[in-house]
Symmetry: C2
Subunit: 280 residues, 2 copies
């Protein structure tokens, strides 16, 4: 099992609709319009971390985009790919399928599943241990409730935000919306300890409802340390006493600085980090 895991790491595998392929039709609406969804999942010891959370978001995305997709088939494929990969990252892209001309959704239409098996990401261990500094992105996210929260393939805002810095001093970048509120980081969600309580931004107007975010909201709630989901302005973030960012691949990174603010890595951040480490 370990050997086959290593092999697949060395030559990343890809299934397109269950067939071993690494290409897809130029007519696919995933390319033409970003008409689809994706999930990036951590695989450890042959199992997908937080699979139920990923599937819940996929379901919400399928509903929001009015797609027709068979989740049973997807789950079977994901579990088989995870068993083969053993340790690494699975990326599942689900597009509307082949397009005819124009934006109108063809009927019938068959979604395209693209299941990529990738090696583990080697983030610097220092990020989790000693924390990260955030870059302050100038790219603002547009407010679009119809697409907020889900992980669709229209990600130009993230591309633009991430393109703002190359200085490796910054492991992540904080992004606000066009109203100036703090939303998330380019590839992770943000939590802050404000007046003694965990707070994370509402993502019903824009941003991604991250898997690790939802898991931590659930877990912290269970140990009587509830997370308040709310509109967060910049001063709320800057006045917080602990800050971290999180996603389902790296877990929790304490945030130690943004602009002129610096934060200690407190015990409650370490507690959230341990909760994340239990599942990834």
């Amino acid at each position: 099992m370990t050997d086959s895991g290593l092999d697949s790491v060395q030559s990343p595998q890809c299934l397109v609709n269950g067939q071993q392929l690494s290409e897809l039709s130029v007519l696919d609406r995933g390319l033409a319009y970003g008409d689809g969804l994706f999930e990036t999942m951590r695989v450890a010891e042959g199992r997908i971390a937080l699979l139920e959370y990923h599937l819940a978001r996929l379901r919400r995305g399928i509903a929001a985009l009015k797609m027709e997709a068979d989740l049973t088939e997807i789950v079977t494929e994901l579990n088989m790919a995870a068993a083969q990969l053993h340790n690494g990252v699975l990326k599942m892209i689900l597009t509307r399928g082949l397009g005819k001309r124009g934006y109108g959704i063809p009927s019938p239409v068959q979604p395209t599943r693209i299941c990529q098996s990738l090696p583990p990401v080697d983030y610097p261990v220092d990020n989790a241990r000693n924390g990260v500094r955030l870059f302050e992105c100038q790219t603002r996210m547009a407010i679009q409730p119809l697409l907020a929260g889900i992980k669709h393939l229209n990600r130009l805002e993230q591309v633009l935000a991430r393109s703002e810095w190359s200085d490796t001093t910054y492991a992540e970048g904080m992004v606000r919306d066009t109203s100036g509120n703090v939303i998330e980081c380019t590839m992770s969600n943000i939590f802050m300890l404000h007046e003694g309580r965990w707070v994370t931004p509402d993502v019903s107007g824009c941003g991604v409802q991250g898997i690790m975010r939802d898991y931590l909201i659930d877990q912290l709630g269970q140990i009587d340390d509830p997370v308040e989901v709310m509109t967060v302005d910049l001063s709320t973030l800057m006045e917080s006493t602990e800050v971290f960012c999180c996603n389902s691949l790296f877990g929790v990174w304490p945030v130690i600085g943004l602009k002129n603010a610096s934060w200690p890595i407190g015990p409650r951040t370490r507690q959230a980090q341990r909760l994340a480490e239990q599942v990834i």
Copy 2:
């Protein structure tokens, strides 16, 4: 030439980076993030209509997305494809290129060019002759000045708006932004005669700066019938005396109805239509 044109219509051709292919890598950032641009061009008698306008928008898009792309190569390819196609539609997709993991732009990166040769679109001739009714879309467009005007591959809002109706009574749908202002139709721009002057919505916050829109602004300006580009609320549209929508494939369609409003097809709409017909 006519024969080869017909052949290519019957079996649409596609070039990926100049190679005759109909597939592209699943690692392309065009698929992963909609990280790219496209242009859909009318080809008549082997020539691309309004090529300079298409190239101008492509240049603006390349700058907005911080892409690196060689337009000379693109123009050569487009002209060769147009000569071979003779009559029909060329669709050029230009993506950032192959991605590594994550939103960060790899360096160096080589853009992917996808040049599709397609048959002419057979819109009902009745649309141009007797006008169309517009569906009133409920999908609102988010305000994102960083991406407004250009023709990028993040088109989920258009997909959602177009999915709202299937009744063929409506040839197009009118779309507003999240502030309620009228922006455009799902695949075309909108012009209206308001208090005796042509008006078209400002698309600096959202919407596409259409090729035919820009051409008509230039042409109407030259015949002393200037078009005012401004913020357009719903009542401005409803109180207008003539309305049309336009794009670079179908030219001008008079609009004869929306909700409880109906409009005549006036002489100034016919004049705009003739201007369009001169170039497509």
